[in-house]
């Protein structure tokens, strides 16, 4: 391996060495539309979608970071919730089949692949989850002696809400994203009021409505494991109420 200590100046890239064709079968408002595009080897479904957008600016979808940190490109790819930027075309179009794209379920549809997910962010804010938490790798931090910090894992993408079978059948269910945030508030050092959060999420349409399908944790792209948080929260609420009952 060359010693990369010298200043590295890279030449302009040689261009697309290998490209592959892919067909996108997209659920647009009230109809299906097909696009054939060319993408580089190793491209994500989002890159293919952007190629389609270059042909048709009216195609509605969100994207921002392209590496699974903004949470905006959530959709159903071949029937399964995923972030388009983290799904390789090679996997989604296996065997040359067209890639089927549909908007997330359980959210108001704004058009094509665009849904309104604001209530997830608003709900997480209302339950009091701080934006930044203690980092999960507590190495030494000399200056103030306080542990290093990182953004909350949850990127508010809404995949969990779309995948949850209970959200599908109970409109009032708080939903896995907000309940998981409640679980985090209950355990997070930096969160102001764990008890208030627990009270908020333990109502009839809160933690008790979870049926343990675990789809939320299956689809979560950000290592939140909402199911574990929700069931942990439930255990905590249960133990609290048992203790309270004894008084």
């Amino acid at each position: 391996m060359p010693d990369a200590g010298h200043a590295l100046a890279l030449a302009a890239p040689r261009g697309l060495a290998v490209s592959r064709p892919v067909q996108l079968h997209i659920r647009r408002t009230g109809r299906w539309a097909d696009y054939r595009v060319e993408v580089r080897e190793g491209a994500s479904v989002l890159e293919a979608l952007e190629e389609a957008w270059r042909l048709d600016h009216s195609l509605l979808f969100r994207h921002s970071c392209h590496h699974g940190s903004c949470g905006t490109c959530g959709m159903r790819i071949n029937g399964r919730e995923a972030l388009a930027c983290l799904t390789p075309v090679a996997q989604a179009a296996r065997g040359g089949r067209p890639v089927r794209l549909e908007p997330l379920r359980n959210f108001p549809l704004l058009g094509d692949l665009l849904v309104e997910t604001q209530q997830v962010a608003a709900g997480i804010e209302a339950v009091g989850l701080p934006i930044v938490r203690d980092a999960d790798r507590p190495d030494g931090h000399p200056a103030e002696g306080s542990p290093p910090e990182q953004y909350e894992n949850c990127i508010e993408c809404g995949l969990c809400v779309s995948a949850c079978p209970v959200v599908g059948s109970d409109r009032q269910f708080t939903g896995p994203a907000v309940l998981a945030a409640g679980g985090r508030v209950a355990e997070e050092r930096r969160a102001p009021d764990g008890l208030a959060a627990m009270t908020q999420v333990s109502g009839e349409h809160g933690v008790w409505r979870c049926h343990g399908a675990f789809e939320c944790s299956e689809v979560c792209p950000a290592e939140v494991d909402p199911a574990a948080l929700i069931l942990g929260l439930r255990g905590g609420v249960f133990r609290r109420s048992m203790a309270g009952g004894r008084k």
Binding site: M1, D3, A4, G5, A7, L8, A9, L10, A12, P13, R14, G15, L16, A17, R40, E41, G42, A43, S44, E50, R54, H57, S58, L60, R62, H63, S64, C65, H66, H67, G68, S69, C70, T72, C85, L86, G111, L114, Q118, A121, A122, I124, E125, P130, I131, V132, A135, D136, R137, D139, G140, H141, P142, A143, P148, E149, Q150, Y151, I155, E223
Partner: protein
């Protein structure tokens, strides 16, 4: 239709505040929307896509202390440090604030150490030299051959949420946001912005007293719709994200700025980057495999084993660089410019070119000063002290 303000020429007797349309919902547009709204101006932000769907979204996320530019561009460095302090105040609780390290493991790096420390000192950037032992204690994944490191107050921001914070604050104060609304024609001197609203499929004419063009590498194209000219070079760059948080601090190579010399932690990932090469079209930038390999190699020399963390994503986008005579690529200034197009015959249009997200608020301040001067509107900038709202409070994005 249209929302034209009517001015009596003097502030205080204004019948209604000026109406400004900001094109671009990236970091520049979001910061400008916030500043103008704080000064009492009515703002509508429009973007052809969603929030931060252009260059800002692909930002590597390093909130500069300015140390990187201390030796090569002291003016930029000072500006970064000033904004670093301000953002720490106004965006507190919304950044990963763990500092940064400039690490050296070769003779060349060690030779640069003195220059680097002196330059940071001159620019007023707190820089502390630490031993290799302590460095490895702080960041155990670093190359064991590290000889020395310098600690600086770098931080990490989530670029999408950076924009959302500014926009949420502006929205709460009355600014409007219309995403998926693409400008197809501009006649600023008549106060007309013609858009194609992709959500409804309809064309509309929006009225404005002034248009602010904050579209990054697309600035030239948008200005051209109005018959105005802006020379902006689209300088593309690639970043590679791996699926593991290998450090808590931003890791930089102790050397003059070069390709692939930064590792930025973000949540449970690490973003490696970046490169630069000129492109003609900021849409559809080819992602070069050779750049990906070189970035991974460089990162591997800083943090052995980072390759094995697994590729999570690759992002390529174009920075907007001001074209200065003679310079290009990395040498082109990362400063910004606010251009009033009135002198060239296009009245009612201001373009903002260049800069970096770290200094978005400062850019917005200068731009808002220019907008206010244009209207004879006396209002002080308040954004340096005003805490921003949580990014989760944005509406109808």
């Amino acid at each position: 239709m249209g929302a034209r303000g009517r001015l009596d020429g003097m502030n205080g007797r204004v019948k209604s505040a000026p109406y400004v349309i900001v094109i671009g919902a990236g970091s520049t547009g979001a910061a400008i929307a916030h500043d103008l709204t704080q000064r009492g101006i009515r703002v509508e932000v429009i973007d052809r896509g969603g929030v931060a769907s252009g260059t800002t979204g692909h930002n590597q996320g390093q909130l500069h202390s300015g140390a990187r530019y201390a030796a090569s561009d002291p003016e930029s460095a000072r500006e970064c440090m000033a904004e670093n302090r301000i953002l720490r105040k106004i965006m507190s609780g919304g950044l990963e604030w763990n500092g940064g390290l400039f690490v050296g493991w070769t003779e060349e790096h060690m030779a640069y150490l003195r220059t680097f420390l002196d330059a940071c000192g001159t620019c007023g950037i707190p820089a502390r030299e630490i031993s290799s032992t302590e460095t490895l204690r702080l960041e155990p994944r670093l190359n064991a051959r590290i000889l020395a490191a310098v600690e600086v107050p770098d931080a990490v921001f989530d670029p999408y949420r950076f924009c959302l914070s500014f926009l949420a604050t502006a929205q709460q104060a009355g600014a409007l946001l219309r995403t998926f609304t693409e400008v197809v024609d501009l006649d600023p001197s008549q106060g007309r912005v013609t858009v194609e609203c992709h959500r409804t499929g309809k064309r509309e004419n929006l009225g404005a007293d002034l248009v602010v063009n904050a579209t990054g590498p697309w600035t030239g194209r948008v200005a051209a719709l109005a018959g105005a000219r802006v020379d902006v070079e689209a300088s593309a760059g690639v970043c590679v994200t791996v699926g593991e948080r290998v450090s808590n601090r931003v890791l930089n190579v102790l050397a003059p700025p070069a390709d692939g010399d930064i590792i930025v932690p973000l949540r449970r990932t690490s973003i490696l980057g970046t490169t630069s090469w000129p492109v003609a079209d900021p849409d559809g930038i080819p992602v070069p495999d050779d750049h990906i390999e070189e970035i991974l190699d460089m990162a591997e020399s800083m943090v052995p084993g980072v390759r094995a963390s697994g590729l999570r994503g690759v992002m390529a986008s174009a920075r907007p660089l001001l074209v200065l005579p003679g310079a290009g690529g990395r040498a082109a200034s990362r400063k910004f410019s606010c251009i009033d197009h009135a002198p060239e015959g296009v009245d009612g249009l201001i373009s903002i070119v260049g800069g970096k997200t770290t200094t978005a608020r400062a850019m917005a301040e200068k731009a808002a000063d220019l907008v206010c001067a244009r209207f004879g509107w006396t209002a002080e900038c308040r954004t340096q002290d005003m805490p921003l709202l949580s990014p989760r409070l944005g509406v109808s994005l």
